[in-house]
């Protein structure tokens, strides 16, 4: 079990506020550490701001006009503020990978899906690409299943395989932080089990922040859990404690299903 006193910080939200285009404040003064090589789960009722928070880490909100950040997300070891206007969002995204709710492979070959991030970075060397693609697919525990059909269309894979492919795609560029937004909500229990297992493996190499609607999933895969409600961070703590003995009454109400 991880021990807080030994944890290293990978990132930290400080006084983070976020406003959507219309002026709706979706995040309210969030302060939260993300520990290195740990899985941190975000739980909370629908609409509480989990996705909004997660997507702040790779500046996904910059894609749509009119959104506004306040506060900081400090990123270590270099201690930059991911949200600083002078920091290029594209650079942020190169350091922070993301896996989405529904597997979203590109309608291209398996190989091209994984190689995409590298190509975007201007990599053209075929040998290098081959190596990295294999490495990423192995990392996503998919290599054995697809090594003989790398040129097949990614959409012919099963849902669970597609989601692992998306993970491989994100892994291929060596992100330091990996964001998962409800990565298994579109999958059946067997595929879900495989992804959870993979998350457990991945944390040896990368820091993970995962949003899930499935409390049991949060309990299963994470080391730390944060409970959000109405845009606020209500409780952050070790998963072991949150699920047996949460400190905040609202957290308890939520995880026991008493909140409606």
């Amino acid at each position: 079990m991880p021990n807080t006193t030994q944890e290293r910080l990978k990132a930290e939200a400080r006084g983070l506020n976020f406003f959507y285009n219309g002026g709706i404040q979706a995040l309210k003064n969030i302060n939260m550490p993300i520990y290195d090589n740990r899985v941190t789960a975000l739980i909370g009722p629908s609409g509480c701001g989990k996705s909004t928070y997660l997507r702040s880490f790779n500046r996904m909100h910059d894609l749509y006009p009119g959104n506004r950040y306040e506060g900081e997300i400090r990123f270590y070891p270099d201690d930059t503020n991911l949200l600083a206007p002078e920091v290029d969002p594209i650079e942020v995204r190169m350091r922070v990978g993301m896996v989405f709710q529904k597997p979203n492979p590109f309608p291209k070959s398996i190989y091209e899906n994984v190689a995409y991030g590298l190509r975007v970075r201007g990599e053209r060397n075929r040998r290098m690409l081959d190596d990295k693609v294999e490495h990423a697919l192995r990392g996503a525990a998919l290599w054995d299943e697809v090594k003989d059909r790398l040129q097949d269309l990614a959409s012919n894979l099963s849902g669970g395989q597609q989601q692992r492919l998306c993970i491989a795609r994100a892994l291929a560029t060596d992100p330091e932080l990996l964001l998962f937004d409800e990565p298994t909500s579109a999958l059946d229990p067997i595929a879900t089990g495989a992804i959870e297992e993979l998350v457990h493996e991945l944390k040896k190499r990368v820091t993970i922040l995962i949003v899930t609607h499935n409390m049991q999933q949060a309990a299963r895969v994470s080391d730390y859990t944060a409970y959000m409600f109405l845009g606020e961070m209500i409780e952050f703590g070790k998963t072991d404690e949150i699920f047996i003995k949460p400190k905040d009454r609202r957290t308890e109400d939520y995880i026991t299903g008493r909140m409606g």
Binding site: P65, G97, F100, N104, P105, V120
Partner: protein, 310 residues
């Protein structure tokens, strides 16, 4: 409030089924009507023009003698003009569509542009001719050339291609876009690797409809100076010219020209009824050209669609 009896339910079902059957008959009737019209029109042209379907018809220039008149300069002209049109309209339309969907801020300006584009689709084509006469022919000095005509028709079908492109882009799930951006791609990389390729089938539909429209247009081209009698072809690139020089790669774009619909239009308005045969035959050829273009694009579209699913 008691539930319907089985008999009542059966009566309701029977009524519903009767209406289904009646509607089905009506639907088949409407469809048959549409198909009948198209088949009748095409057959009519084919039958009327049957006498003219000889090689000469395709290799002869226009003539005052109906039996000797051919469509050489017309079909070559149509093809070349379409080539220029496609070359101009497709990149421009796609670029505009991409800009509006992927780059432009969503605000009243976009709304205005949207209405503006829809509106352009309804501007009578002759007005485009008037516009092009002022701009391409005189302002830019392109003269009465294939280039001017191609660009004019490009402007004419631009709204169609833009609308088709935008609709096609809109059908691409946001998650594909976000997936690409999330690995650190720039907007343009996202467009180039994903948005445009995946929108291609829809864009092709727009191109099909647009070119089919453009290839049949008469009025705007006449306005900018397409000819009716022209007994020579534009200089093929790198061939010898009568005056001893060699034609440049792009000399043909500045050449005078005529197109199929003008030829047809002219023939239909000739006093001599013999030309109606020519007109019918040319109309049939034009349909064949549209169909060939369609078929190509339909095939391309089919092939591309197969590979895209999410």
């Amino acid at each position: 409030m008691k539930p319907l009896t089985t008999e009542e339910i059966r009566a309701v079902i029977a009524r519903g089924k009767l209406k289904d059957t009646l509607f089905k008959a009506l639907g088949i009737l409407c469809l048959a009507f549409g198909l009948l019209v198209i088949v009748a029109l095409i057959l009519d042209m084919a039958i009327k023009g049957a006498d003219r379907f000889t090689l000469d018809f395709f290799l002869n220039f226009a003539s005052r003698r109906a039996t000797q008149a051919g469509i050489l300069s017309a079909w070559v002209g149509s093809l070349l003009v379409m080539f220029v049109t496609a070359l101009a309209a497709v990149p421009l339309g796609v670029a505009a569509g991409v800009y509006l969907e992927e780059y432009a801020p969503r605000n009243w300006m976009t709304q205005v542009i949207e209405i503006n584009i829809a509106n352009l689709a309804a501007v009578p084509s002759i007005v485009y001719g008037l516009l092009a006469l002022g701009i391409f022919v005189y302002q830019f000095g392109f003269g009465q050339s294939i280039l001017s005509a191609g660009l004019t028709l490009a402007l004419l079908i631009l709204p169609i291609i833009i609308v088709a492109t935008r609709e096609a882009i809109r059908a691409i799930p946001a998650m594909i876009r976000e997936g690409s951006m999330a690995v650190g791609a720039t907007r343009w990389q996202t467009c180039r690797y994903h948005i445009i390729p995946y929108a291609m089938p829809g864009i092709l539909t727009g191109v099909i409809i647009g070119l089919a429209r453009a290839i049949g247009e008469t009025a705007p081209i006449i306005t900018i100076g397409a000819l009716t009698f022209i007994a020579f072809l534009p200089p093929a690139p790198l061939t010898a010219l009568p005056d001893g020089g060699t034609a440049g790669l792009f000399d043909w774009v500045m050449a005078p020209f005529t197109v199929m619909p003008i030829q047809i239009f002219n023939w239909t308005s000739r006093p001599d009824p013999a030309f109606e045969i020519n007109a019918a035959a040319a109309g049939f050829v034009l349909m064949a050209m549209v169909l060939a273009m369609n078929a190509l694009a339909i095939w391309l579209r089919y092939r591309m669609r197969k590979n895209i699913k999410w």
